[in-house]
Amino acid sequence: METNRRDFLKIGGVCALGLGSLPVLNAVAQNVPKIMDNPQALTAKRWAMAIDVKKCWEKGKPGCKDCILACHTTHNVPDIGTLKEEIKWIWTEKYENVFPGFESGNEPHDIREKPFLVLCNHCANAPCTRVCPTKATFKRADGITMMDFHRCIGCRYCMAGCPYGARSFNFRDPRNYIKTELNPTFPTRERGVVEKCNFCEERLAAGKIPACVEACAAKALTFGDLEDPSSEVRKALGAQYSIRRKPELGTLPGVYYII
């Protein structure tokens, strides 16, 4: 058979088209495994939280620790029992420690003495992710400062970098110190890695709001997308004056305090 140039080009074109459409075919065909997002997942451009401290004190029962308990139960956070090796994702501190340098000594009694909730700020400009030598802690596109426990080498540089004391290190095997009921759907940690609040990313992926927000009967915690003007967190921030921890450092925390 004689092939002229015209035929050659025609055949070549058809062949190229066939090859090019292979990925399309693959995608349409159901015979190859695929990886996708969970359609039920809650998503945001930037997750953020607002803590209304007055609501927390006034509507919450005295000494309420519902949010802390909910978080620590959900994430199998151990109770080591010493200040030295303490592991905590969310806890309370006094005003002078949460906002050092802000205190005048003449604040209302409640401000000076009542507990302020503290947790990882999921900073937009997070020093911990900047210093981590293995990207074991990293920023997700939705603003969550994530920990990869499989990759952490335990150098604790992130702990030196974090200005908020949000990070805890597993000095010993935490398994034996989980005093809450073990949550079988969430892993524990291993000795030698750093851990902290993850904004309940595993719950967001399943379409649920963070455990602390859900657990708060006083509705003092608001969670939502900071970039979405109609989100609850934006409405709360738009309605009342709020502050963030150590704003002068430029870390741009995602946790706001409505005082």
Binding site: T134, R156, G165
Partner: protein, 385 residues
């Protein structure tokens, strides 16, 4: 050349044996740490770096100080240093070895160490520190070995070594600069957040390193037929004196800025170190000991008579080395964490196993140093004879 490390008199073997005992004790302590975790140390969630990282920081300085003999010899043709450049380079090798070991023993998951290479992260200063330290180790190994080999054969070292020597000079500065950047770039650790930290590190390195080198040169002279030469020691002493005075000056600068500006957060760590904070005074004696030793060293070194008197010079060197160790190897690293990010004072004291590991690493470093110096000195003796 390596075989020269295997022959020696009883004193040599006794020294190696003693070091091996300490290395063994350190290894046992480290195995305990591997088994039980960093809980056996005095480290806490608030002071998350302690003696290990402090030793690392101090020894990076000792390693970098080799440049103080290499630079004058190769760039300014200061002939007196020709005999001791090898001592400086081999000291650098031993010091960097200790640095790397201190990083390893500090890790919570040492078996994952290579993640640093597997997932290179250029935005982390620790990544760069890993690169410059390993590079510096290799540079000194290649340079020291080849120059010594050439000396043994009575030839000139190969030409390709020359560029390495030139590179090693800024490289030495880089290792301590990058190590300072580990600290100086962290927000809200006010003791470290100072633009002169790298300069401070270099100044204290250039006095503590030469101090150790002078002591080592004295020991080499005493126990072998190789004499590093009085002129070299004199010149090193001058360098050390200047660096010491600049170091003390820099500490003064920090104090001025913190206290005259009146900004409390800039003062807390310094106050904790020198006067105690909220009743916690754990490091106060150490810091005043630093001040006393540094002052004593300055007075001794500025007195012209000291340099002529070997014994006085050695005492001065000891003061310099130990005072800088207190300032950098304890105060600076631990002090940076106190108070913590919530302005609470949580103190730190190393545990006994932790100190055993530290001693073990120092012993390992001195083992490496002894073997390397033995080789160097044997070659020098042969060439002399």
């Amino acid at each position: 050349m390596l075989e020269r490390a295997l022959t020696g008199n009883t004193r040599y073997y006794k020294l190696l044996g003693t070091l091996l005992v300490f290395m063994g004790l350190g290894a046992v302590a480290w195995l305990t740490q591997l088994d039980r975790g960093l809980t056996i140390t005095g480290l806490s969630r608030d002071v998350s770096w302690g003696l290990y990282i402090a030793q690392f920081t101090y020894l990076v300085g000792v390693a970098a100080s080799a440049v103080m003999v290499v630079l004058p010899y190769y760039l300014h043709d200061v002939k007196a240093f020709g005999k001791i450049t090898i001592l400086g380079e081999f000291l650098a090798i031993a010091a960097v070895t200790m640095c790397l070991l201190f990083i390893v023993v500090d890790l919570g998951k040492p078996m994952r160490l290579l993640n640093v290479l597997l997932y290179p992260t250029p935005n982390s200063i620790l990544f760069w520190d890993m690169i410059v330290l390993n590079g510096y180790l290799l540079l000194n190994l290649f340079i020291g070995w080849n120059v010594l080999e050439a000396e043994r054969k009575g030839t000139h070292y190969p030409n390709w070594v020359k560029p390495l020597i030139y590179i090693s000079i800024p490289w030495a500065v880089s290792i301590h600069t990058v190590t300072a950047f580990l600290y100086a770039g962290l927000p809200s650790r006010h003791l470290w957040l100072t633009a002169i930290l790298a300069a401070r590190f270099l100044a204290s390195a250039f006095c503590s390193g030469p101090a150790l080198l002078i002591i080592l040169a004295y020991l080499v002279k005493k126990y072998s037929k190789f004499d590093p030469g009085k002129e070299a020691i004199d010149k090193l002493t001058t360098i050390m004196t200047y660096a010491l005075v600049i170091s003390i000056f820099f500490v003064g600068l920090e104090a001025f800025t913190a206290y005259y500006s009146g900004i409390p957060s800039h003062q807390f760590s310094l106050t904790y170190l020198f006067f105690g904070l909220e009743g916690h005074r754990g490091l106060v004696p150490f810091m005043w000991l630093f001040a006393a030793l540094a002052t004593a060293a300055t007075v001794l070194l500025l007195k012209p008579g000291t340099r002529a008197n070997e014994k006085h010079l050695l005492i001065a060197c000891g003061c310099v080395f130990f005072s800088m160790w207190l300032e950098k190897g304890i105060g600076l690293v631990v002090g940076g964490f106190i108070p913590n990010g919530l302005e609470q004072v949580r103190e730190y004291a190393p545990s006994i196993p932790e100190m055993m590991i530290v001693l073990g690493v120092w012993a390992t470093g001195f083992f490496v140093l002894t073997v390397l110096y033995k080789i160097a000195v044997s070659v020098k003796e042969e060439v002399q004879a």
